[in-house]
Structure formats: C-alpha cells, structure tokens
Symmetry: C2
Subunit: 315 residues, 2 copies
Amino acid sequence: MSWYLPEKVEIKEVGPRDGFQMEKAFIPTKEKIRIINALSETGVSAIQVTSVVHPKAVPQLIDAEEVMANIERKEGVSYSVLVPNICGAERAIPMKADEWELMLSVSESHSLANANRSVDDSLKIMEEVVHLANAHNVSVRGGMATALGCPFEGRIPFERIHYVAEAYYQMGVRAFSVADTVGVADPKLVYETISQLKALFPDADINLHLHNTRGMALANVIAGLQAGVTSFDASVGGLGGCPYAPNATGNVATEDIVHMLERMGVQTGINLRKLLAVSRDVEKLVDHPLESAVSRAGTADELHQAPTRQMKIGE
Amino acid sequence: MSWYLPEKVEIKEVGPRDGFQMEKAFIPTKEKIRIINALSETGVSAIQVTSVVHPKAVPQLIDAEEVMANIERKEGVSYSVLVPNICGAERAIPMKADEWELMLSVSESHSLANANRSVDDSLKIMEEVVHLANAHNVSVRGGMATALGCPFEGRIPFERIHYVAEAYYQMGVRAFSVADTVGVADPKLVYETISQLKALFPDADINLHLHNTRGMALANVIAGLQAGVTSFDASVGGLGGCPYAPNATGNVATEDIVHMLERMGVQTGINLRKLLAVSRDVEKLVDHPLESAVSRAGTADELHQAPTRQMKIGE
C-alpha cells in the first residue's frame, strides 16, 4: 500500500501560450486577456501568458506586449513569458513577468530546425538571457524541449539532457522544465529521466511539460509524481499540439490533470468547477471541440439517478 | 530507479464484445468473424468474442452462436464469452469457449438497474453457472462490474468488493476481473484496491478492465502494473463506451496500451503494426472516428525528416 504521492503540486497553465499559438485563427487580444483573467480566478498558481518570439515565426502571439500590459495580475499567481533568445529577453524586460521561461531544444536536429542554431549556440545565448534576467530581478526556468523525445532523432540519450541541465546549472539556473514536446515519452522514461536529474541536481526544481499525443500524458504524470516532480504544465481544454501529428491531441488538459490529482487527494489549489467554466468559454472561442476527456465526459463525482423502471437484461 | 514493471502482460481483446455491443449499427456477422480472425493473427493471447446475453437486451450480439461457431480458433489464443446468467450459460455450453466470464455488478443499485436483481441473487446465480462450467470443463473468471465506481453510488467501499470476491472464491473461482465500468477510477484507487485484493487472495489471477472515459486509463494501467496486475482488457480502436457519458471515450484502446507497454519494454506478444491494420479496418467498418490516440497520431518511433531549409524562429 506504499504508493508515493505528494500532498500538493503546482499546475502551470500554458494554454495562453502553447495553446493559442497553435490555433489557426488569431485569438483577439481582448479575448486572450479575458481568458487569462478568468484562469487567474481558478486558483491556478502560475500562468504562462505569452511568448516573446519573433512575430513572423509565431504571428498568433504578436500581441505579447499588449496582453502582458493589460491582464489583471492576481496576488499569488506567477505570470511568466517564454523567452527563446536575446531579442526576446529585451522585449520581455518592460513586461515585468514573474518568470522567464528559457527555451532551447536538447536534440541537435530539432535545435537546428526550430531555432536555426546548435544546442551549444543556444546555450551561449541563454547565458546572456540569464544575465539580463538577473539584472532585472526576474526568476528563470531552463526549458528543455525534445528532452523526452525528438521527432527527427527519436529517444535522446540521457547524457544530452544532463549536458544541457549542467550548462543551465552553471549559469545559476535552479529550475528546469523537462518537455515531451511531441508526446512520445512513456512513464518508464519519465521516471528514469527525472530520477537521474534529481540525483544529479538535488537542489533543482523540476517541472514536467507533457503532451497527450499518444494518450500517455496522465500516466507520465503518475511517473513524474513518483520520481518527485511537483510542478506540471497543462493547457486548458488540451489546447496545443504538434506539427508532426496534426490530428493528434495536444498538451495534457488542465481539467484532466486537476481532475485526476484531486481524485487522488493531491491538492492543486484549482477549483475544477471554475476551470471547466473557462474551458467551455475557450471552446466557444476556438470554435472546435476540445481535447479534454473531462470536459467531454464530466467529472467522476457526477452521480446519475438510478432508473426507477428497471430494464430486465438476460434470463 | 526502482520502479517496478513486470516483464510481460496478457492483453485480452474485448472489442468484439464490449465494443461491438455499443455500436448503433449492427455489425454484420461475417464482418465480426473477419475482425476476430484478424485479431487472432496479431499475437493477442485472449479474445472476448461475444456475450450470451438476451438478444432483446443486446441485439447487437444476437449472432453469438454463429460467431463462435465460425471463427478460426488459433492455437495459443483463449476465446471467451461473457455469461451473465444461467440461461446464457446453457447457451454457452455448446459454444466450447475456453473461458466463461461471469458478470455481475458489485454495487447494489447498478445490479438492480442493469440485471434487475440484487448482488446476492446474482451471486446465487453465478454459483450455478460455475457448477455448469465445472461440469463442462470450462475455465471461469469472476467479473466485478462497477467495482471501481458506480454511476449511481459513486465510490464503492472496498468491503463490497471483498464481499463479492470472497463469494466467488468460495465457489472455487480463482480468476477475477475488476472493472471500471464507467471510467471513474483513479490510479490511487486502482493501486489500493488491487493491492488489498492481492493480499486477501494471493492465489487469484486478477485482471483489470479499464475505460478511458476521463483520460485516466493508461495511468490506471501503470497503477495496476505496480500493484501486480498482469492481465488487462482492451478494445481495438477504443470501441465501447458508457451510456452515462455518451460523448466520451470508451474502453482503453488496445493500440494505446500495447504501444505504451512495448515502449517500456513490457512484452504483450502483440504485433502493433498488425494491430493498427486491424484498427484501420475496424474504423471503416464502424464508420466513425476511433478513440485511440496511437491510431490518430502514429507510434512514437515513427521518425520525421528534419527540414533541409531551416525556418528561422526568433532573433
């Protein structure tokens, strides 16, 4: 009966960034702000608001400045932006985010394809970004895209993850985000990767960024919890996705992870009822069905009325 | 790094019964036979072929006799039928199934609503069914519907599961199937329920029947594996469902469970490529999209070509 689960975890809502950037139709700025404000009221402890990526690369988030300037910041909620380079960092300074989420790919081929530079070149850039963050008193988290699998290279040797984590650590970064960018990680890989990272960097705060592309996201959450992770990214409605699997599900849905954790007595601080209301609102906004099991099926504690007239089966 | 996983597990394909019975359109008998024969060639170790329930209750399986008489039985594959009552058992005798899967609901209200009799009355009937099975040398497995949650009562106290398991055990039944009939179980509940059952019935073979209604099926597989379960029901394409959540996903998809297990090095004996071919065939047959993440997204080991012309993001 000794099945380890933590008492509470932190959920970071990444829908406004990782979700909205994958929507074909541009989400109007005022709608983005409205949804982010509604998410702030659910009890979530952190929201990844936007990304300071070049507007040509991600036109959906061209309004990063306007969004960051106009959301209502609720006390106790950490508002972060994704920072992929120095130009982005300079844009991010006046936004006064609580956290910058640094982003690079652990796999060489994905780094070249996505950012047009090697992993080592990305690390040099991240070092400068960390200096800027320190100069402006912003926390940083070292993101590791494709750490749990690359669409071009497949499984990534742990040595490569260790290499990037060590480089981040040498820059003074003490918070990592280990990403299953294309949804290929299995629970054993998650457990082993996190366990090894925690053994090597016992003072680091490790977050898991999971996609449900092959249905394994909640199983990977369990593996992560058992390896000691207490911070998970999730996207309202399961928004987001992967360009290599266009029909597939995206980020693990916030509703689904919160529902599972709360059922097990692991506290998230999130009011699921409020979150499901935001999710219904998001569904209208994006105008396509959401990839969240709980928003489709309802919560497990919704009881039904037993039929009064019984149907006789068999005999 | 001590994360327990078994070397191999048994997957029982239940699509032909639990899946086909939920399809609105009747699947023609010869198509059922063709799919079952194709499933037999995937390496699966057991198939639940049909149910000997009253045709008025489940008209989709009215052809149980014809299907059982005409499938090609492959050596090494166990072919079972679901037997809910004595009338069904009598129908099942000439079918010469390898196993009868007894079925009753652990929750009183579900038992009354679904079978129009109390749990105790069902147990008395099952005792007679077991006598018939013994007389005809057929193995039996004691099914426990709603053991992991009831649509009318919610969570079922473990004492009720214990009560039914003990009654089965007293009849000589040494194989159980613990069902999450409406897809409400969470991993902690699965782990604790199975651990307690295994402690009380150390010589029993325990199977888990999981639905993915709230996205937790693969997480529950992990919990089950860690509690020592090595037999899982699964349905090709995720066919099946639950009348109380009509838009929701159904049984855990065979493709998804096999994909996850094989990625972790847990052997299922199933050739995933062959299974995915059957799944595509089933999708054409049922004429609606399947609820299998892997059939939508492809397997995690399918690598993509890195783009030669690199798109510059950021900077």
